[in-house]
Each structure stands twice: as structure tokens, then as C-alpha cells.
């Protein structure tokens, strides 16, 4: 019986490790927190798009905010800002951050999605 439990635990650990290994930086570092938030991560994207329009502007504004978040730079509405406050600066290095932001753009960009 114990042996059987051990097997299940081992299997879970392997599975988790596998997820950890194959999951992207975006998924492990952004989605992990955002998925439990009441406002979904795509809403943030469209607020950024509304303000920054192009890929280049959006990515640089987002990167800048993630590195040095301030009240002035946030795109959060006042109500949400009061409730949640601003996030802490990212712990990712520039390369990882770029990778995460690029993936975020690729998932939610409008290009090629309109019909």
C-alpha cells in the first residue's frame, strides 16, 4: 500500500518537474499569479494596446513597467489600483523578461486575428 502511495507521489513530482521544465517563462512567471486574479491577463493587454498602439511601443512600455512599476506608469483603473496596489519589480533578467513579453504579445496581438 505504502509502495503504491510512494509511486503516486513520485509520479506527481516527475509530472510537476516536467511542467516546470517545459512551461515557458511567461507561464511560470506571469500566468501563475494572474490566473488567480479577478481581472484576466488579456484585459491588461487590451488596455496596453488602447494606450500604446504599436508592438514596439507596447512592449517597451510593458517592460519598463515590469522592471520599475510606479503609479504613474500603470494602466490599471483607479478602483483596481486602490484595491490591489502596484506590483513588485520583476526578478527576471532582461532576456527572460523579453521572452515573456514577446510571448504575451504573440498570444494576444490583434494582427491576423480579425476576419
Amino acid at each position: 500500500m505504502d509502495k503504491g502511495k510512494d509511486m503516486v507521489v513520485k509520479f506527481l513530482i516527475v509530472a510537476l518537474l516536467q511542467v516546470a521544465i517545459f512551461a515557458s517563462i511567461y507561464e511560470t512567471n506571469c500566468m501563475e499569479c494572474h490566473k488567480s486574479m479577478p481581472v484576466k491577463i488579456d484585459k491588461f493587454f487590451y488596455r496596453y494596446l488602447l494606450k500604446y498602439s504599436s508592438e514596439e511601443n507596447l512592449k517597451s512600455a510593458l517592460t519598463e513597467y515590469l522592471k520599475h512599476p510606479t503609479k504613474e506608469k500603470t494602466i490599471l483603473q483607479a478602483g483596481l489600483l486602490n484595491r490591489f496596489g502596484i506590483k513588485k519589480p520583476t526578478t527576471l533578467n532582461d532576456k527572460e523578461l523579453k521572452e515573456a513579453v514577446d510571448e504575451y504579445w504573440e498570444i494576444y496581438k490583434v494582427f491576423g486575428k480579425l476576419k
Partner: protein
């Protein structure tokens, strides 16, 4: 006034007039083109401004639809379409996000413009819905205004052009008046003078002919010869001037003229002149050549060429006359003509050398007769050595 245009104007002057007229026409056309372009652009702007308000309303409607789509993008991804126009959206880096009119180059510096019969309106929404910084609307242009503009341009263009041409004609006449008056004065003077010359010259010549030369002593015979030469010179001049002033009244009597016979006859006529200058005259004849021409006129041509060859020759010089199948030429050993002056030689009153008497009308007459019978006149010369005039057909 333009009736005697050809005979009254020199070729250089005609060229100047031609240049003036060309310049004037080019200037008129350029001016009309610029005015036309300004008018066209003005009318186009007017038409665009008329369309702008209506297109702005349509753009605002489209912006509202984009806004709705932006909010519901997770549920609906259908680009809003409208039957009244085609549209496209671009982000702030001018990259096309979506378009219903395909890929086209858009001039983002304009608010409204026309290209390929389509009107484009560029609208910047207050927020970048779906990343849209520029919303571009495309509607086909109604070309009624264009045909109206073309009609007006054609009508006024032609009218102004004609008006300018009439104006140019009077301007030209005004400019020509002093020049024409000077030539007319000279012509009239010559005409009057010639008329008075005729009777005395004829009297001298007929009286000399009546003198029996054999009864005279050498000294007197020489004097008579000189008088004869002088009288013939005046007679030639008289005939030239008459021809020049009355050319249009002379009716041609064309016949087959044996050129060899004619040349011999004219050389004989000029023999006294040649003798006086001790000139050696040589006639070389090829095949028997006849020309269907007015005898008086071809005689005039030959006389003028011979007269020049004698007049401009040096003492003890030579005159070589050649007759070929389709040409004859007279070459002297005189003072020649400078290259630059050769083209002016056919102008009336033009003279290469002012030191010898004459009016400068000889070659002008040759040229007139030559052009009447489609003969070609070619002058070759080496300055201070020789001059050769060739007539060919």
C-alpha cells in the same frame, strides 16, 4: 501688309521672327499650363472639402464600431464592414492591422486626398481601439467634377490661347513696322531710280552699237570700249533691279535651253569685262545639257554669276566655268568669302566685300530664280583664294 512677306524680309530676320514666335508660343503654353494646374488643384481641393464632412461622419461611426469590437474582442473578432466605404486600420508604426481594400500606400500626412479616382480620409481615433492609431476610409470619387473641370479648362484654355496668339500677331506687326519701313523705303528708292535709268542707258548702248569700230583709230576704239563696258554694267544692274522689284509681275516662258550655247553667249557678252581685267576664261563642257526654263531667267542667273566672278576677281586672274550633266559651276580666283558669311550671301543687300561697287542683290536674284525652278545653289569658298558657285538640279 503681309502680302510681300517673302520678298521683303531677310532670312536672318525671318529666323528671328520664327524664334520670337516659338518663344512666345512656348511662354503662352507654359503660362496656360500653370494656370490650368492651379485651377485643377483648386477645384480638387474644393471637391475634397465637400466630401470631408460626410466622410468624417462615416469615420466616427466606424470608430464606435471599433471601440465595441475592442471591448468584446474575446467574444467577437469580425471586423466591422460598411457598404458605403472600404476601410483599413493601422497602428502607430503605420503597420496595417486589417484592411478591406487590400494593401495600399497611404499618405498619412494628409487628412483627405485623392488617388486613382478614390478618395481617402485619414482619421485618428481618440484611443487606440485594437491598436488603431489611423483609420483610413476609401470611397470611389464621383468624376463628374473632373469632366466639368476638363471642359472648363479646354474651353478657357483654347480661348485664352487664341487670344494670346492674336495679341502676339499684333505685337509682331508692331515690332516689324520699323524694319519693314526701312526695307520698303529702299525698295521704293531703287524702283524710282531704275525707272529713270532705262532710257539713257538704252540710248548709250544702241548708239555704241551703231558706231562702225573699224573706222576708228585705236585710241578712240579703246575709249568706246570703256564706255561700252560701263553702259553694259549699268544695263545689267538695271535688269537686276527691274527683276527684283517686278519679279512677281514677270510671266515665265519656259523652253528647252541649251546651256552650252547660253554659257558661250554670256561669256562673249562679258568678254569686254574680262579683257579689261585681263582675266583668263575657260569653259569646260561635258555632255550636251538642256534645261527647261525661262531663257531670260537662266540668263539672269548666269549673268550674275559671271558678273560676280569678274567683279571680285583679281587682275590677271581666272574664271573656270564647268558644265556637267546636271550642274554648272563658276569658279573665280578672287578674294573669296569668309565661311561665316556664306550663309548670308543670298540675303538682299548683303555683300561680302564693300570695297567693290554694287547693291548686293545678285545672289538674291539667283536664289529667287533657283527656288522657283527647284535648282540647288551651293557656294564654296576659300577666303582670299577662290569662290565657287555651283548650280545643280
Amino acid at each position: 501688309m503681309l502680302k510681300s512677306w517673302d520678298t521683303n524680309l531677310l532670312s536672318r530676320e525671318k529666323q528671328t521672327l520664327r524664334s520670337f514666335f516659338l518663344l512666345y508660343t512656348v511662354f503662352t503654353i507654359t503660362l496656360l499650363s500653370i494656370l490650368g494646374a492651379i485651377y485643377y488643384n483648386f477645384q480638387k481641393d474644393l471637391m475634397l472639402q465637400k466630401n470631408r464632412l460626410q466622410l468624417s461622419y462615416l469615420a466616427n461611426e466606424q470608430v464606435l464600431r471599433l471601440k465595441a469590437l475592442h471591448v468584446n474582442f474575446d467574444k467577437d473578432r469580425t471586423y466591422p464592414r460598411d457598404k458605403r466605404f472600404k476601410s483599413a486600420i493601422y497602428d502607430s508604426s503605420k503597420k496595417q492591422i486589417f484592411s478591406t481594400f487590400g494593401k495600399k500606400h497611404i499618405d498619412f500626412n494628409e487628412v483627405i486626398y485623392m488617388e486613382d479616382s478614390k478618395i481617402y480620409l485619414i482619421k485618428e481615433p481618440e484611443s487606440y481601439y485594437l491598436g488603431t492609431k489611423y483609420l483610413v476610409l476609401e470611397v470611389p470619387s464621383n468624376n463628374a467634377w473632373l469632366s466639368k473641370v476638363y471642359k472648363t479648362l479646354a474651353l478657357y484654355g483654347v480661348a485664352i490661347f487664341l487670344l494670346m496668339m492674336v495679341f502676339g500677331y499684333f505685337l509682331l506687326k508692331l515690332l516689324l513696322r520699323p524694319m519693314r519701313e526701312a526695307i520698303e523705303l529702299l525698295d521704293r528708292f531703287i524702283k524710282d531710280t531704275t525707272h529713270e535709268l532705262n532710257t539713257p542707258v538704252n540710248a548709250i548702248m544702241s548708239n555704241i552699237e551703231m558706231i562702225d569700230k573699224n573706222t576708228l583709230d585705236d585710241k578712240l576704239a579703246k575709249k568706246i570700249k570703256r564706255i561700252d563696258i560701263g553702259a553694259r554694267t549699268v544695263s545689267n544692274l538695271y535688269q537686276d533691279l527691274t527683276y527684283l522689284t517686278l519679279a512677281h509681275k514677270i510671266v515665265s516662258k519656259d523652253e528647252n535651253v541649251d546651256l552650252e550655247e547660253l554659257l558661250k553667249e554670256r561669256i562673249e557678252y562679258f568678254s569686254l569685262f574680262c579683257e579689261s581685267k585681263k582675266l583668263r576664261v575657260r569653259l569646260t563642257c561635258g555632255a550636251k545639257t538642256t534645261l527647261h526654263i525661262d531663257r531670260k531667267k537662266i540668263t539672269k542667273v548666269v549673268d550674275n554669276l559671271l558678273s560676280n566672278a569678274v567683279k571680285y576677281n583679281k587682275v590677271k586672274g581666272s574664271i573656270d566655268i564647268k558644265l556637267g550633266k546636271n550642274y554648272f559651276e563658276v569658279k573665280d580666283s578672287g578674294r573669296g568669302i569668309e565661311k561665316a558669311k556664306i550663309s548670308e550671301m543670298f540675303d538682299r543687300y548683303a555683300r561680302a566685300d564693300e570695297s567693290v561697287g554694287g547693291f548686293g542683290i545678285g545672289l538674291s536674284i539667283v536664289s529667287m530664280i533657283a527656288s522657283e525652278y527647284a535648282l540647288h545653289v551651293e557656294i564654296n569658298s576659300e577666303f582670299k583664294k577662290w569662290t565657287k558657285v555651283k548650280i545643280w538640279w
